[in-house]
């Protein structure tokens, strides 16, 4: 996995590895692979993946050289060595199926999205559920996944009047991205459906349902199934 990495010293305890400048599946896969390898091989680093870059937070006093200087250079050398190895990191991504009730009260913007794409609502649902998505990164709010892999014909601009309270579980489209609101949050993306799954639970062993690098598929459910699953989630 030899690739050109651009290093930036962001702060006393932060080094950014940039793999590119665009939102692209292959680029993001490099980021995830590097994160996996660095987490495995270098101790005490916090790795924060984004679309095309990976942030490393570290303790500068641990990474300082013998003269107490230049922790970023020491870390950069260690990172380069670690990522130079030719042994492949074969990560089989986790696949998570997310049930979604599309349209109606759960997806109030579905008809607008359909009109804007020149499709009918069923076609939007068909194309949205046909997608094979990857979690590029989590951000904006705890557990909020930015997903790559949206059918380009479903790309719609954000709302001109953002909502103050987007309901938890809302599945939404913003530009060429799709994502899921884990909590009640303000937001300007177009809401096409809602999942009964809980995306973020601080009391769970794994607080976030999704992690960067995961594979995601959406599965359409009806309103009755939504309510059943919601009851099951709540009683857990």
């Amino acid at each position: 996995m030899q690739q050109k990495i651009h290093f930036e010293n962001l702060a006393e305890d932060a080094l950014l590895l940039r793999f590119g400048e665009c939102i692209e599946l292959a680029l993001n896969a490099q980021v995830q692979a590097a994160a996996t390898r660095l987490r495995r091989d270098l101790y005490g680093l916090e790795c924060v993946p984004a679309y095309a870059s990976l942030l490393l937070r570290f303790d500068p006093s641990i990474w300082a050289g013998a003269d107490g200087q230049h922790p970023h250079q020491q870390l950069q050398a260690a990172v380069s060595t670690c990522l130079r190895d030719t042994d492949q990191v074969n990560v089989v991504p986790r696949e998570v199926v997310v049930p979604v009730c599309y349209g109606g009260e759960y997806g109030p913007d579905l008809d607008d999205v359909a009109a804007s794409c020149g499709l009918d609502a069923d076609a939007v649902v068909t194309r949205h559920t046909a997608g094979d998505y990857r979690v590029a990164m989590l951000g904006f709010a705890p557990g909020f996944p930015y997903l790559l892999g949206l059918d380009p014909t479903l790309s719609v601009p954000r709302r001109t009047d953002p909502r103050q309270r987007v309901p938890a579980g809302s599945v939404a489209i913003g530009g060429s991205q799709t994502g899921i609101y884990p909590e009640v949050l303000p937001g300007g993306w177009q809401l096409i459906g809602r999942t009964p799954l809980r995306l973020f639970d601080v009391d769970a062993n794994d607080p976030s349902l999704l992690a960067a690098g995961d594979r995601v598929r959406f599965h359409a459910i009806d309103a009755e199934t939504f309510r059943q699953l919601l009851d099951e989630t709540a009683s857990r």
Partner: protein, 327 residues
């Protein structure tokens, strides 16, 4: 053992060293805005485990101690009384059962820390007791304290020097607030950010020597800086990447934003600078309306200052522990 919140003050919250290690899940670190002040408050009451303290903002809370307690105040100078007895800062103080501690306004600065021996022992969330007000993570969904809140105090060994008695009794010594709290305003050290070179010449000059004002829209997430609008030579379209406390971002409005303790973990604005970590504590003590100036530093200078402060703080924490052991 518990403390009851009678009046919450302007914005009081439980804070500790924060919640590192969860940024990949979208969870930021949060924690005390003035970290050394929080550490010193804990040290003064003999806490060594990163216990949670109360961070007060501009106007402090009123609290009733349901049991005798040992407390310490550090950070911005605040008026503090139990009944008619003033409570000194930068030392520890025994308060009898039933004491009502009334914290008032701050003469200077923005944030005061109140530590209690044993710590405020709420259930940790993702390894920290700090309240992330922005992400709503922590005790009671990370909200600020409210009247009626009952905060448990952790169990600590008795402290003969200050124990017992029905009177408020401070230690016979206190710390020099210098250099941990500054009244004077000096420029904040700023290291050039990734997109510094995209600024136009006027903006670069303005950052080095110009004056900004901390906007009233500032909070624990970000400080908004009003002043001369800054411009890029050509607009930049960036994709989101990780964000950090201390980053000076430039949104399209031209009014820069400096990210603080509750910084979101990702952001997409140009990064024009990074405030040196040592100066984030001074930034945390600025209040809305205060002026903000910057002075360029190299990352090596910022690192050297951080190392020096860390050594000084470690030494002081050891000295405090030794003196408390003898008292």
């Amino acid at each position: 053992m518990s403390v009851t919140v009678l009046k919450p003050g302007l914005l009081s919250s439980l804070q500790d060293g924060g919640r590192p290690g969860h940024a990949a899940l979208g969870v930021g670190r949060a924690g005390a805005m003035d970290n050394p002040a929080w550490q010193l408050a804990n040290a003064l009451v003999g806490n060594h485990q990163g216990e949670a303290a109360i961070e007060c903002t501009l106007l402090g809370p009123s609290l009733r101690f349901e049991h005798a307690a040992v407390i310490a105040l550090t950070g911005a100078p605040i008026t503090a009384h139990v009944g008619n007895v003033p409570i000194p800062m930068w030392t520890s103080c025994h308060v009898p059962r039933g004491s009502v501690l009334q914290l008032g306004g701050m003469a200077h600065g923005c944030r005061t820390y109140l530590a209690v021996r044993g710590g405020l022992d709420v259930t940790p969330v993702l390894g920290s007791r700090s309240s992330d007000l922005h992400a709503r993570i922590g005790h009671e969904q990370g909200r600020a304290l409210r009247a009626g809140d009952i905060l448990p105090v952790g169990i600590a060994t008795p402290w003969p020097a200050l124990q017992n008695g029905d009177v408020v009794r401070p230690l016979h010594w206190s710390l020099d607030p210098q250099p941990w709290f500054h009244v004077e305003t000096r420029p904040l050290a700023l290291v050039r950010g990734s997109h510094w070179s995209h600024l136009d010449e006027t903006s670069r000059q303005y950052i080095n020597g110009g004056t900004f004002v901390l906007s009233k829209d500032s909070n624990r997430t970000a400080g908004r800086l009003d002043g001369h609008a800054l411009r890029l030579q050509v607009p930049l379209e960036l994709i989101s990447e990780a964000a950090l406390p201390g980053t000076l971002q430039l949104p399209p409005s031209g009014q820069p934003i400096v990210l603080l303790a509750e910084a979101p973990v990702t952001g997409g604005y140009p990064r024009i600078g990074q405030v040196a970590a040592v100066d984030l504590t001074r930034l945390a003590q600025l209040r809305p309306g205060d002026t903000v100036c910057f002075q360029e530093n190299t990352l090596d200078e910022a690192l050297a200052r951080l190392r020096a402060r860390q050594q000084r703080l470690t030494q002081l924490l050891e000295t405090i522990a030794q003196r408390l052991g003898h008292d």
